[in-house]
Amino acid sequence: MSKIAEAFQGKKAFIAYLMAGDPDLATSAEYILAAQEAGADLIEIGIPFSDPIAEGEVIQQAGIRALKAGARLDRIFEMVTSLQGKIRAPIVFMTYLNPVFVYGYDRFFKKCRDIGVCGIIIPDLPFEQQQEAADPAAEYGIEVIALVAPTSSERISRIAKDAKGFIYLVSSLGVTGVRNEIKTDIRARVEELRAVTSLPIAVGFGISTPEQAAEYSQYADGVIVGSAIVSLIGEYGGKARGPLKEYIANMKAALR
């Protein structure tokens, strides 16, 4: 069983997204460990990109802060390396294809393996184009996580067929960001997916409250929270440790 799959074993998983380098790299290393202490079962580390077309305002701003604070890829790798020995939760990167492509697929995924990163989520790499990255990733044991959107319909079974790690079920149309109401029938979507895959399914995009976490974890195997966490860091900057731990602990406790 992969380390990612283990994060879902015997429990519902809380997946926390943090932007590397926001407010700075040393502090984000501290926050990643704080998220683990508060109960996060899997950590998504965002690698900032200048043009994040799947992100809403909150994560866009975090990316700008991180890039301004000097969160270059080589430094992000150093930050993740510094977590070794302290981090037990599996780490996956979330970024756009260009930083990975320009660094070089082989070089990038080898580095991931060397520093203990298990997977990667690339929102602008759809199923049809996936092979160019997924093949080299597989060579180094890195799992490319597939996304399924509300618009995927008949694409679902093809996406699920080659999926690795877990399925990232995108809850809503549009971009990342806190939503008061999620209109998609998550239960029905999860059931559709169960019919075609045995991988764990985690729901993300728009989730911020314990009520939402409680509801979606009834059907899915985990929930993913990004913008709500990132906005806490945006608000508290270097003093977000306390609020962050409290927020994640509450969310984790709400999972059913």
């Binding site: 200048s50 929102p123 995927s152 995108v170 149309l173």
Partner: protein
């Protein structure tokens, strides 16, 4: 070529949420492009609404003053709405209506594509929302007001560099919020497949007419076809029918801003490297970590860090050549053409004129250079005044 690739460029690198919309567009386009009814409706619009065919004008004063090859201007500036953008927009908006969409969205840099989109939406009874960088809204205020007059809503984009690149990001984000009733009408030969192919097909009329008109007037093909390149739609349209005519040089003019060594330019072919942005693999101005560089040009329409994938391919194969043209050269050409011929070109097109003049000077008098005059320059008058140290505001 397979799956919208041109050599190693192209593809469909968009979020999963948009894949169904992209594929729906691909299928609709494949169907309607062979549909005689669609073709007829579009041809009639191009004739009776856009004013095609556009003139091929022999710039006699300019030619004599330069003292080299004959210079012809393909007058896309005379189209309705004042640029070549209407060719593509009529095609895509008609397609949107055939697909049953109620709303179109568009990005715009200089505002010419936005104005064309707003125009076509007004004509065909569709809603229209245009995304435009804050900086571009300031330098092209007149076009913002034109779009609003036409009934479109203009959204100010304040993310990133607040120019064309960010307007594309925001249009893609908006499309992912509302895919069902909306078509993203992209303005250049860029983005995910099928856009580079579809926009080229809709702009191809420029080169098709140019070839026919040139044969009628001169009984021969031009020695060179010159056009400015941002994303590259007017250039692709002008070049396409000449690709197999190996005697015709194809030359794209990139914005070199304050000079390609100044770090303030948008010269993608000269300075870019392979990357992935806005749904396509192509050449981009970017750093060693794949962060897209802020680019610069006096002309908002060329102020883009990438280039259409088919141009990158034509560059690789050597079939087309791409040259940098600075702000200063473009402004000189802008004034030169205005005074010699009484034709005020768009600043974008002035980049092409600048190089055409340079080239004509090197060629013999019996040779011919054709320039795509992609748009008219009314929108740029205030920007030129400011460049020259005045403080004219619209």
């Amino acid at each position: 070529m397979e799956f919208g690739f041109y050599g190693s460029y192209g593809g469909q690198y968009v979020p999963e949420t948009l894949m169904s919309a992209i594929q729906e567009l691909e299928q609709a386009y494949e169907y309607f492009k062979g549909d005689p009814g669609f073709r007829r409706e579009l041809d009639l619009l191009l004739q009776n609404y856009a004013g095609r065919p556009s003139l091929l004008y022999y710039a006699e004063n300019l030619t004599k003053n330069v003292g080299g090859a004959k210079i012809y201007l393909k007058r896309e500036d005379l189209n309705h709405t004042g640029s070549h953008k209407i060719n593509n927009v009529l095609g895509q908006t008609l397609l949107a209506r055939r697909m049953g969409k109620k709303r179109i969205i568009a990005e715009t840099g200089a505002g010419q594509h936005g104005v064309a989109a707003a125009t076509a939406a007004a004509l065909m009874g569709l809603e229209c929302e245009v995304f435009m960088g804050k900086e571009d809204m300031e330098r092209q205020a007149l076009n913002v007001f034109r779009m609003e007059l036409l009934g479109a809503r203009v959204h100010q984009v304040t993310s990133g560099t607040m120019t064309l690149k960010d307007a594309v990001n925001e249009a893609m984000r908006e499309w992912s919020r509302r895919v069902d009733d909306t078509l993203y009408v992209l303005g250049s030969v860029m983005g995910p497949h099928p856009y580079p192919m579809m926009v080229r097909d809709f702009q191809r009329v420029i080169g098709t007419e140019l070839k026919k008109q040139m044969l009628e007037r001169e009984g021969r093909l031009p020695d060179a076809v010159v056009a400015c390149v941002g994303g590259g739609s007017n250039a692709m349209g002008a070049f396409y029918d000449f690709i197999t005519d190996s005697s015709v040089r194809l030359i794209g003019c990139e914005a070199a801003g304050r000079g390609i060594e100044s770090g303030q330019h948008a010269a993608t072919i000269a300075k870019g490297s392979l990357g992935v942005l806005h749904g396509m693999k192509s050449l981009f101005c970017q750093d060693e970590y794949g962060q897209i560089d802020p680019v610069y040009s006096i002309s908002a329409g060329l102020d883009y860090p990438g280039i259409g994938p088919e141009h990158a391919y034509l560059h690789d194969t050597g079939r087309a050549r791409y040259v940098p043209v600075t702000d200063e050269e473009a402004v000189q050409a802008f004034e030169y053409l205005s005074r010699q011929e009484g034709i005020i070109p768009a600043l974008e097109s002035a980049h092409g004129v600048a190089y055409a003049v340079k080239l004509a000077r090197e060629l013999e008098k019996d040779q011919i250079v054709a320039v795509c005059l992609s748009g008219r320059g009314d929108k740029d008058v205030a920007a030129i005044a400011r460049y020259k140290g005045g403080d004219l505001y619209e």
